[in-house]
Symmetry: C2
Subunit: 209 residues, 2 copies
């Protein structure tokens, strides 16, 4: 028995994005953020996601410029890294995740924080001008903000999508209230996740490769 | 400046799960599905997820038994595979994703379907008694159901969490209406995603390793 459903990838994409555009409110967003917002809604199946975004107006331009110049993408977890579509990135752009670096567990103990926060410390040599994509851990975003307060150089963009019931809404509110001079995009509230973080990277990278 | 937030992983988990349990409705679920439902809500930051689950009563027991016996986890995309916590799985359990198998693109052309659906065809030798985790593509779930209709042996469980605006709700409704004799768990509607699919595997595997 052959079931009835759309099998053509191009038609699926077109119908998906058309549905999001029909249902979502986008007119409050800067022009260059609208495609990104559509991708974020598409990634999670929720057309109201654009309503809860917070951003700096330069975030898409800054992240695109950084990727075009070969800056790395720094991810807080392997799922975000797995979701970044390598063929969209300019040649030579690295996608890095230090969560499973052998130094991370001991570093977490030393700084009295989660492994996700410790993994951020290992971005030190790469963070300047990088594109940061956080799709899991509120502590990674909180700790990145602390390190910026401590004098770290700014990334080109913070794409902040930690998810969950403890610290996610709070860390994103802190980012939106005081991004420490870094261009940023975030989703207020508990929702977020690796699919959104990687969708943001993919949408921003579109056309660069 | 030190920001105020919870830094202890155990405390974060405990508070997260306590919040989900306080906010979510769970009493309509079979006993052994409640922890799984909590994990699903936790994975996406949405406590209403348990309200929209559909399942067969044997799904958790069947999937646990399969994993305990060394059955593989078959994933529709790399993000699901990346989200499965290997240390929770019994030794020797493989986590497989055939989406980037070199045969997949040509196979997609041949069967006139997406790469995600073609990747499912490559599960043929491993699907019997396996744990299937679909966290992205509606076409993967639809095509799996077609292959079961065509006589494929049953997996031990179908954890069906495709996401999005085209086919996701429909493929999950088809699974729930006629699971072809396979134990299943799914979330009705557009929501889903790789974080939920891997959270379901992780919750089911808990205590087995």
């Amino acid at each position: 028995r052959r079931l009835r459903y759309e099998r053509d990838p191009a038609a699926i994409y077109a119908e998906s994005f058309a549905t999001v555009r029909a249902e979502a409110r986008l007119d409050h967003l800067p022009e260059d953020l609208r495609d990104v917002a559509v991708r974020l809604a598409h990634a999670c199946g929720m057309a109201d996601v654009p309503n809860r975004l917070a951003w700096s107006d330069d975030v898409v331009a800054s992240a695109r410029k950084a990727l075009a110049a070969g800056a790395p993408v720094l991810c807080d977890c392997e799922m975000v890294a797995a979701g970044v579509i390598r063929s969209l990135l300019p040649a030579g752009v690295e996608v890095l995740c230090t969560l499973n670096d052998p130094r991370t567990p001991e570093l977490a103990q030393r700084i009295g924080n989660t492994r996700s926060a410790a993994a951020v410390e290992l971005w030190r040599e790469r963070v300047e001008g990088a594109v940061v994509a956080i799709g899991n851990a509120p502590t990674a975003l909180f700790h990145l903000l602390e390190l910026l307060d401590a004098g770290w150089p700014r990334p080109a963009a913070i794409l902040g999508f930690p998810v969950g019931f403890v610290g996610a809404a709070e860390s994103k509110a802190e980012l939106a209230a005081d991004p420490r001079g870094a261009p940023f995009l975030t989703l207020r509230g508990r929702r977020g996740g690796s699919a959104m973080a990687s969708a943001a990277v993919n949408a921003i990278a579109k056309g660069l490769s």
